[in-house]
């Protein structure tokens, strides 16, 4: 098992390096940099830019040096936990994003928990009541969840939440708690607001997971050993939970890996619509204004979360399923 973990960690390193190279390349693809856009914008509105300061910043962050040196500088900073400097906010990226990264993680993790809590019972119910009316209804609902663009669902839910529950529109907490230190009231306000983004972001993933669990469990329930268990008079619940469910769970866990990028993507767009103080809106504006350290560090953080998610799901799978563990051991 230890060998397996080490093996997986060793694979993660080149993956992260490759990801950072790709992100750096993408960020630097558009012609010019933040300063050229900035100067052009200021000149467009008839103002004069503070050229001395820009020159200083350009030198400080090595815009005059070759690309590979800039890359090394950025990655070196990342390793120290220094995410670089946001030019549009005129602050270190760490200061700009600190709370946002935390909130992004909170929203993502809550969404994943929501997905599991909802998908699990519904999936089991659909599979054990195949082709019943409630199964058809749930399937239809799941398909609708897959097909509705999340941002619109967000708008509609926001509207109704405001009309019927009086929850303030947009944001993750009541406006009065903004920029306040964390307190009990702030947490409660967060809880009251977080459910809309969680439902909206989680709907597509939940629907997909219900469908997959249902299909897997159905496959498993048709097997001989289940028939035998039933025939010898095992309690139906035990005949469901003891083995078939465990077998059907594998994809459930390996899904964490694919669920995380999906949740983060969903969070990015939904938070733009709902003006959540998470990373989405900031990433959008950073990409537009070519604020390269901000955008790059964001993307890097999101990809890092994903890689970690895949790693965790692989570990959980190996813990749960001896076949995977043994196979991995043999390969080395």
């Amino acid at each position: 098992m230890l060998r397996y973990i080490i093996h997986r960690i060793l694979i993660m390193i080149p993956t992260l390096v490759a990801i950072s190279i790709v992100i750096f390349t993408i960020i630097n693809l558009p012609p010019g940099n933040y300063f050229t856009t900035y100067i052009a914008e200021l000149e467009g509105s008839g103002q004069k830019a503070d050229l001395a300061k820009i020159e200083f910043l350009e030198k400080e962050y090595g815009f005059d040096r070759p690309r590979w040196q800039q890359y090394l500088y950025w990655v070196g900073g990342l390793l120290h936990g220094d995410l670089g400097y946001s030019f549009s906010y005129d602050l270190p990226v760490n200061k700009v994003v600190g709370d946002r990264l935390l909130l992004t993680a909170v929203v993502s993790i809550t969404t994943i928990i929501f997905t599991y809590v909802v998908a699990f019972p519904i999936g089991i119910y659909s599979a054990t009541h195949q082709y019943s009316i409630s199964d058809h209804l749930l399937t239809l609902l799941g398909f609708l969840g897959l097909a509705t663009p999340s941002f619109l669902l967000a708008l509609v839910l926001l509207y109704f939440a405001n009309v019927y529950f009086g929850i303030s529109i947009g944001g993750l907490m009541d406006p009065k708690y903004l920029d306040q230190p964390w307190s009990w009231g702030k947490v409660l306000s967060l809880m009251a607001h977080i459910w809309i983004p969680v439902i909206v972001i989680g709907s597509a993933g939940t629907a997909a997971m219900i469908r997959r669990l249902r299909a897997n469990l159905l496959d498993e329930l048709q097997k001989q050993y289940v028939v035998t268990a039933r025939a010898k008079g095992l309690h139906p619940l035990r005949a469901l939970f003891k083995y078939p469910l465990r077998m059907a769970l594998n994809p459930f866990i390996s899904d964490i890996g694919s669920l995380l990028p999906q949740v983060i993507s969903g969070a990015a767009i939904v938070s733009v619509v709902m003006s959540l103080p998470t990373t989405g809106p900031m990433l959008l504006s950073a990409l537009r204004s070519q604020d390269m350290y901000l955008a790059g560090s964001f993307l890097m953080f999101m990809s890092f979360l994903t890689v970690i998610g895949v790693f965790v799901s692989d570990l959980a799978l190996a813990l749960l399923d001896p076949r995977i563990r043994l196979q991995a051991g043999r390969r080395q």
Binding site: L29, P30, L146, A147, P149, L158, Q262, S265, T306
Partner: protein, 403 residues
């Protein structure tokens, strides 16, 4: 007597007289005995037996009623986008400045309890000066019968041939806003019909891109194995670790502002297709890994066929139906992706129109409260996505020989 055809009855008569058979107490067929009779098939069985793989897939698909219905809807949609100039009652950019944010006009076919030609009711317009709100009230006196196959707004069919024939037009001097108008007074219904052209083709072109990439790269990985395989797999893992939407956002932010809308459109489809190919490549790879051990593949290698021919001619056709089904299931993701990007203003740019561009007008919560009809394009998005999902599911079941 013949030994080969055993005809019971006459032979058993003691006289051996063939001309006058002695009638037996039970029925005996006089037809010559055919030892292969058991294996002979009826015409229907025969048809089934010699049917090609594609024909079997087609038959199975036809049994799947939801899939057939979805396929029909998709077919209708795709036929629709070839003639959207004709279907739309107004031009794409026709502005009705007197009718800004006009609500939808329902079609009436009953008047005073009688069935009449379909008509809509004209508006009485009033500006509420207190709330600065435009108030449109349907006026029962203003009956405006809809004209069919009529001359209306000028257009250029496919941007080439001028014309002005429409399926339905407003009455002379009247309006026909079946789904209301937007902030510039443009008919939403017409714009949705035009937007379908972009939204529905983005998925197809994107899937074509990822299908090509997936087959070529997955094929190389699966056929050669070894180091090539390991390298390609690692690369695919890297691509899969990116959250899709932020990467799409980053890539489409690269597209230069100076590009023409058509270029941007192709850029977006490329971007959508470039990320999603990894799933297909994985499927191709694992299938190829299994198939290349088969005897027919070894035979082809021994006959000196080149890898390209072996992959393209012998291996890919073995699971092409499965591939097409997976590709169909990828289209909805791309349609939703385009919608999301355009909604954020990073996708297709006006003056080109897509469902996402139309929905970006509904970005504001005021819209939900005041002009809910602007969210209508979401209905077509849902229908298209659902239809593709059901059709792809049916196709996948039909393509599975063990199902």
């Amino acid at each position: 007597m013949s030994d080969l055809t055993f005809v019971p009855g006459p032979e058993h008569s003691p006289a051996g007289d063939l001309a006058e058979p002695v009638p037996l107490p039970h029925y005996v067929s006089r037809a010559p005995y055919d030892p292969y009779a058991v294996e002979r098939m009826t015409a229907a069985q025969e048809r089934f037996y010699v049917a090609s793989q594609w024909r079997m897939v087609w038959w199975k698909l036809c049994r799947h009623r939801v899939a057939v219905a979805s396929g029909a809807i998709l077919l209708a949609m795709y036929i629709g986008i070839t003639i959207c100039e004709f279907l739309a009652p107004y031009g794409m950019d026709t502005r009705n400045t007197d009718f800004i944010y006009a609500p939808p006009q329902p079609v009436h076919i009953f008047s005073h309890g009688h069935l009449v030609a379909p008509y809509v009711l004209g508006f009485d317009y009033r500006l509420d000066m207190k709330r600065l709100e435009r108030i449109y009230t349907p006026d029962p006196e203003k009956r405006q019968p809809i004209r069919f196959f009529c001359r209306g707004d000028e257009y250029k069919f496919w941007g080439l041939f001028p014309g002005n024939l429409h399926l339905a037009c407003p009455a002379h001097g009247g309006q026909l806003f079946l789904l209301g108008t937007d902030r510039l007074g443009r008919d939403l219904m017409s714009r949705m019909i035009y937007g379908a052209r972009v939204s529905l083709t983005v998925g197809l072109v994107g899937v074509a891109v990822s299908l090509t990439l997936g087959i070529v790269i997955g094929g190389i990985a699966g056929y050669y194995g070894g180091w090539t395989d390991i390298l390609i797999q690692r690369a695919m893992e890297v691509i899969q670790s990116f959250p899709h939407l932020p990467l799409w956002m980053a890539l489409s932010a690269i597209l230069p502002v100076s590009w023409s809308p058509l270029f941007v459109y192709f850029g977006i489809t490329l971007i959508l297709g470039m990320i999603d190919w990894t799933h297909l490549a994985r499927a191709v790879r694992s299938k190829l890994l299994a198939l290349r051990e088969e005897d027919f593949c070894t035979a082809a290698v021994l006959m000196g066929a080149r890898p390209v021919r072996i992959i393209g001619r012998h291996l890919l056709p073995s699971f092409s139906s499965h591939l097409i089904a997976s590709a169909t299931l990828m289209v909805p993701g791309m349609i939703l992706g385009e919608t999301a990007l355009s909604f954020l203003g990073l996708g297709v740019r006006p003056p080109m129109t897509s469902w996402g561009v139309l929905l970006s007008d509904a970005q504001n919560i005021n819209v939900v409260a005041l002009y809910p009809w602007l969210m209508a394009p979401v209905a077509t998005v849902i229908v298209a996505v659902l239809a593709f999902n059901f059709f792809g599911d049916g196709l996948r079941d039909a393509a599975d020989p063990y199902h």
